[in-house]
Structures are given as structure tokens and as C-alpha cells.
Subunit: 141 residues, 2 copies
């Protein structure tokens, strides 16, 4: 009998690696972004709207985050807006182009995922979906 731990090791790392590599390809080849830039966009959309928040969430130094935002701003994907109440703070947000780019990358990644999931019956998809909910409960307390 295979333990859950073994299943976990055999499954999660390889499928995530495959997915991540796919995202990397899409982001790089079709949109000219590194994965790091893609991650930064994701996080900004998710609500991490300052350089510090970005740094902390992404486990990078503030100087690194500052420069990353710089590149994204140059690419017109992100805007910096100084807070009027606390003029030290800079609020980050996606431009329309940033939103579009992020959505397009997600759409392509999801099309790729969908291809894989086509191989499953609806019942199997349902089973997996439920199992993933259990997994989340175990990991994200």
C-alpha cells in the first residue's frame, strides 16, 4: 500500500514543475516577462500594493523589490502612486495593460491545464476537486 506521503512526493512536485515550466514559457516567449515579474504582477493584483509588502510576500529584499517594480513600471504594467496622507508610501497597482497581460497569461495557462484535465471523466474531476479541498484544509490552517 502506498502511503499518502509517497503519493504526495510522486505527484505534487512533478506536476507543479511541469505547470510552472509551462507558465515560464508562456510568460517569457509570448509576453516577454520573467517568472519573477509575472509573480510580482500576480501579487500586486492580489493586493500587495507597496514595495515592502511585495518584498515580504515574495521573500526578496526591499531593494530587489524596488528594482523589480521599476522594471514593471517601465514596461507600463504597473503604476506607482504616492499616498497623499503618508507621502513615504507608494501605492502600486496594475495598469490596464498589466491587467490584460496577467489575464492573458492565466488564460493560456488555464487552456493548457484544461487540456490535461480533458483526460479525466467529470466524476474523476469532481473527486480530485474534493480531495484538493481536503489537502488545503490540512496545509493552510
Amino acid at each position: 500500500m502506498t502511503s499518502l506521503i509517497d503519493s504526495f512526493w510522486e505527484t505534487i512536485p512533478p506536476i507543479w514543475r511541469q505547470t510552472r515550466s509551462q507558465i515560464r514559457m508562456i510568460a517569457a516567449e509570448r509576453f516577454g516577462l520573467t517568472v519573477e515579474q509575472f509573480q510580482a504582477l500576480r501579487r500586486i493584483r492580489k493586493g500587495y500594493d507597496s514595495v515592502s509588502a511585495l518584498a515580504e510576500e515574495g521573500r526578496l529584499s526591499r531593494s530587489q523589490a524596488s528594482r523589480a517594480v521599476d522594471v514593471l513600471a517601465q514596461k507600463k504594467l504597473v503604476t506607482r502612486l504616492t499616498d497623499t496622507n503618508d507621502r513615504r508610501r507608494v501605492h502600486l497597482s496594475l495598469t490596464a495593460k498589466g491587467e490584460q497581460t496577467l489575464s492573458a497569461i492565466y488564460a493560456e495557462a488555464e487552456a493548457w491545464l484544461d487540456e490535461r484535465f480533458q483526460r479525466l471523466t467529470p466524476g474523476q474531476a469532481q473527486e480530485i476537486s474534493q480531495a484538493l479541498a481536503l489537502l488545503r484544509a490540512a496545509f493552510l490552517p
Copy 2:
């Protein structure tokens, strides 16, 4: 109704990130290895026994792989053995210390995983295990 794709996005990246970060902590703080070195050890044990094989599998340049092996050899975790038939080739293998280190890291990582899985009933664990098998089938054809 939540689609499988949504479940996937909500589950796989965060739990893998958490797990990976845990491995990073264990490898770094308790064994003085970077994740990259840990990955290299894993791959060598898995059978990628030359610098080129290591480079290709790990998606790094050969010079990078060569230098990584150098560090591992200095740490006495890996041995290089020149092939007697083709003296260009260098066969890589783990030393006893390398095996022990790798096993110890795995053991700690699995203890950590086990803690998370304690939150599940045996039935739930079984369900997840089956669902992961389906997922593998969809991704790794």
C-alpha cells in the same frame, strides 16, 4: 460550483510553496545546504550520474552543474569517478555521508508532512491518495 482549475490554482502552488520553503529551512539550517545542492543530491541518487545529465535535468548550464558538483565533492557528499572505458566521462555518486544527509532531510520533511496529514481521517487520506493518482495520470502520460 468551483472548477477543477480553480481548485488546482488555490491548492497546488501554495501547498508546494509551503513544503518547499520547509525543505529549504531544513536543508539550510540543519545541514548547511542550499536547495539547489539538495536538488542536485536528489538527482544524483535518482541516477543522473554525469555532469551533463545533471545539467539537462536541472535546467542549468554545464558550467553551473560542474561547479555545483565541485561544491558537493568538497563537502564530501558526492564522489567523481572517471569511467575506465570512456575517460571523458565522470560518474557521480553519493558518498555514505551524502546518502545519510539526503535521507535525513527527507526524514525531517516527511515528519513535517506527516504532521499536516495527522489532521486527516484515514478515509480522507485514502481519498486524497486516489485523487493524486488520477492527477498523475492526467499530467504524466
